[in-house]
């Protein structure tokens, strides 16, 4: 098992390296940081544009391989370079990673837990009313893109706030700017900001997981060993939750890994729409500003996260499935 995981880790590092290289090269071919300076008024002389671009290692007059060599040797030493404005990417990233990870963590945990519960609930009551309602809900959510969910939530929150006459839910930023008070006030403020963005990414996750969990659970419910367990005198509840659910969770680990990329993209939308200063919002910004270094750094972050999620899925699977552990 350890050897297997080590091999996966090494392949993972290779994949991250290639993915980042690909992102840097692609960005170098498609993005023109120079354009940011060309439209200035009064016009900036070309030599000083060159100088500025050279400082941040984004001058298109330098051969792309040379720029790449400078960049990757910096990354290898833990230095991600400078933004087009000349600020340190490392500092900015330190602030932003936390924001994104918090959103992703809370969102995926809420989404996965409730999704699995809904799926199990639906499977145990197949074709009952609650099952039908859950099915319809998940079909709708799966057809709704995150940006639309987010905008609708924002709209709903405003109506709610107007209805109650109080600022119950916030829909911009992570915390209220300049708010002071006890730790409790700050905590409540944070929660009020967190609810909508979390819902925006968790609702889709819930729908996805509940569909897969339902069908995995139905597969298991029809199996012989559950009947045997019941025949031997275990209660229905015990067979379902101890024997059934555990087996039905195994295929879910694979879906967790595959859906994580989708979750990251969803978080990107959420960050932009709710104005959270996270990595996703930064990526969108970098494409708009044609900032090669930032685009490559955020892509690297995403690749690491995706691979980490597959790694995590492997670990979960090993915990749930003894065949993986021993074999």
């Amino acid at each position: 098992m350890t050897r297997y995981l080590t091999r996966r880790l090494l392949t993972g590092i290779l994949l991250v390296f290639l993915a980042t290289t690909l992102a840097f090269m692609l960005a170098s071919f498609t993005m023109q940081p120079r354009e940011n300076y060309l439209s200035r008024n009064p016009p900036i002389p070309e030599s000083s544009i060159d100088q500025k671009l050279d400082e941040v290692n984004q001058n298109d007059k330098t051969p792309v391989f040379q720029r790449y060599a400078t960049w990757i040797s910096g990354v290898a030493r833990g230095n991600f370079g400078l933004t087009t404005e000349g600020r340190s990417i490392n500092d900015e990233m330190g602030r932003r990673i936390g924001v994104t990870l918090r959103l992703l963590f809370v969102g995926s945990v809420v989404g996965a837990v409730f999704g699995v519960l809904l799926g199990v609930w639906g499977a145990l009551r197949q074709y009952g009313y609650s099952d039908r309602i859950i099915t319809v809900f998940s079909f709708f959510m799966l057809a709704t893109p995150v940006f639309f969910t987010a905008v609708l939530l924002k709209y709903g929150a405003l109506q709610l706030n107007q209805l109650t006459g109080r600022q119950l839910l916030y829909y911009t930023g992570e915390t209220s700017v300049g708010l002071t008070g006890s730790a409790w006030t700050l905590f409540v403020d944070r929660i009020q900001h967190l609810i909508l963005p979390t819902l925006a990414i968790a609702l889709g996750e819930m729908a996805l997981y509940s569909r897969y969990q339902r069908s995995a659970m139905l597969d298991v419910l029809g199996s012989d060993y559950l009947r045997t367990a019941q025949a031997k005198g275990l209660t229905r509840r015990k067979t379902f939750y101890k024997h059934g659910l555990r087996t039905a969770l195994i295929p879910m680990t694979i879906w967790f890994a595959f859906s994580f990329g989708l979750l990251i993209v969803g978080a990107t939308f959420t960050e932009v729409i709710f104005s959270w200063p996270g990595m996703g919002a930064w990526f969108i910004d970098s494409v708009r500003k044609q900032d090669i270094n930032v685009a490559a750094a955020t892509t690297l972050f995403t690749a690491v996260l995706v691979l980490f999620s597959t790694f995590l899925a492997d670990v979960f699977r090993a915990i749930l499935d003894p065949r993986v552990r021993t074999g």
Partner: protein, 311 residues
């Protein structure tokens, strides 16, 4: 709850011949007829088809029913709510939201269909070639797939998008297709691995049938059902990806519109002028919903086992 039947209802009721009308039992049915029969019996599948046809009709005929073109500007109505003259209201500069939404729907529908078709074709070719030939072709393809799975398609297309600003939207379609085929290719690959050991494939090979023909005549038709279902699912996914990218301005470029750009334009003032984004968003949800319901019904019709097991 005492004893619940351990075998789900459908297994017992799933017709081997049960659904076929009595008088026709003797008549041999082709596979396609059987699939069509089963599909027709699924209410949601028929409903999905009906909705999708209606959306197409709406998108392509609707604009002729209204008096406004999507580029027209009505200087007498700025930001007006829906009315008899402007069915979906108007924008800040007096554009007719109905005409724009129809135009966006056209784009999103066409893009979805094209991407579904192209991406599933790429997946079929790559997956089958990799599985059939094995060796370095297989290794290279599988490695490419795992590399592409590390990078969400959204990110890559966004990075390429600055070059799309002036390009035709067909390039955008191609890009979407190029980054959507990976997961399907993995499944096609594993299906090929099991199919290529079957006797009919060996027989063809020993008779000297060229590899290309074996793949196109013997391997791919045998996974046609999977490919059809997958193409349907991809259409839905493609519409979502396209609107997502267009939402940020990385996809369809103005003055052209897609449902994504319309929702994006409406979002800014969504709170006070909901008609700017609600219609586009609603139609987007209905479109993807219809496509996924059709996909589900198709899977049930093509592979009744799947109904018995799940959904």
């Amino acid at each position: 709850m005492a004893l619940e039947p351990l075998i789900p209802d459908e297994v017992l009721h799933e017709p081997t011949a049960g659904g076929v009308d009595e008088g026709e039992l003797t008549e041999a049915l082709s596979r396609n007829q059987l699939v069509w029969r089963r599909f027709r019996r699924s209410r949601s599948g028929i409903g999905g088809i009906a909705v999708l046809l209606f959306l197409f009709l709406l998108a392509f005929v609707g604009p002729y029913l209204a008096q406004w073109n999507y580029e027209d500007i009505d200087p007498t109505a700025f930001l007006r709510p829906p009315s008899a003259s402007h069915w979906f209201g108007t924008t800040q500069i007096g554009q007719d939201v109905f005409a724009q939404t129809m135009r966006g729907l056209q784009k999103s529908l066409i893009i979805g269909l094209l991407v579904g078709l192209i991406s599933t074709s790429i997946a079929a070719i790559v997956g089958a070639t990799a599985g059939y030939f094995g060796g370095w072709v297989e290794n290279a393809s599988l490695f490419t797939v795992s590399l592409m799975l590390v990078l969400p398609d959204f990110l890559i297309i966004a990075i390429i998008s600055p070059r799309l600003q002036d390009a035709s939207w067909l390039w955008f379609v191609l890009l979407l297709a190029i980054f959507q085929w990976t997961l399907t290719a993995l499944v096609v690959h594993s299906l090929t691995l099991s199919l290529k050991r079957r006797e009919f494939v060996s027989a063809a090979r020993f008779m000297g049938v060229p590899s290309r023909t074996i793949i196109s005549r013997h391997l791919l038709p045998n996974m046609a059902s999977f490919l059809i279902i997958d193409a349907t699912i991809t259409v839905g996914a493609a519409v979502l990806l396209e609107t997502g990218l267009s939402y940020f301005g990385f996809g369809i470029q103005p003055p052209d519109v897609s449902l994504g750009t319309l929702i994006a334009d409406g979002t800014a003032s969504a709170i006070t002028f909901p008609w700017l984004f609600l219609f586009a968003g609603g139609l987007l949800v209905v479109t993807v919903l219809a496509v996924s319901v059709i996909g589900d019904a198709l899977r049930d019709a093509i592979d009744p086992q799947s109904t018995a097991r799940a959904s």
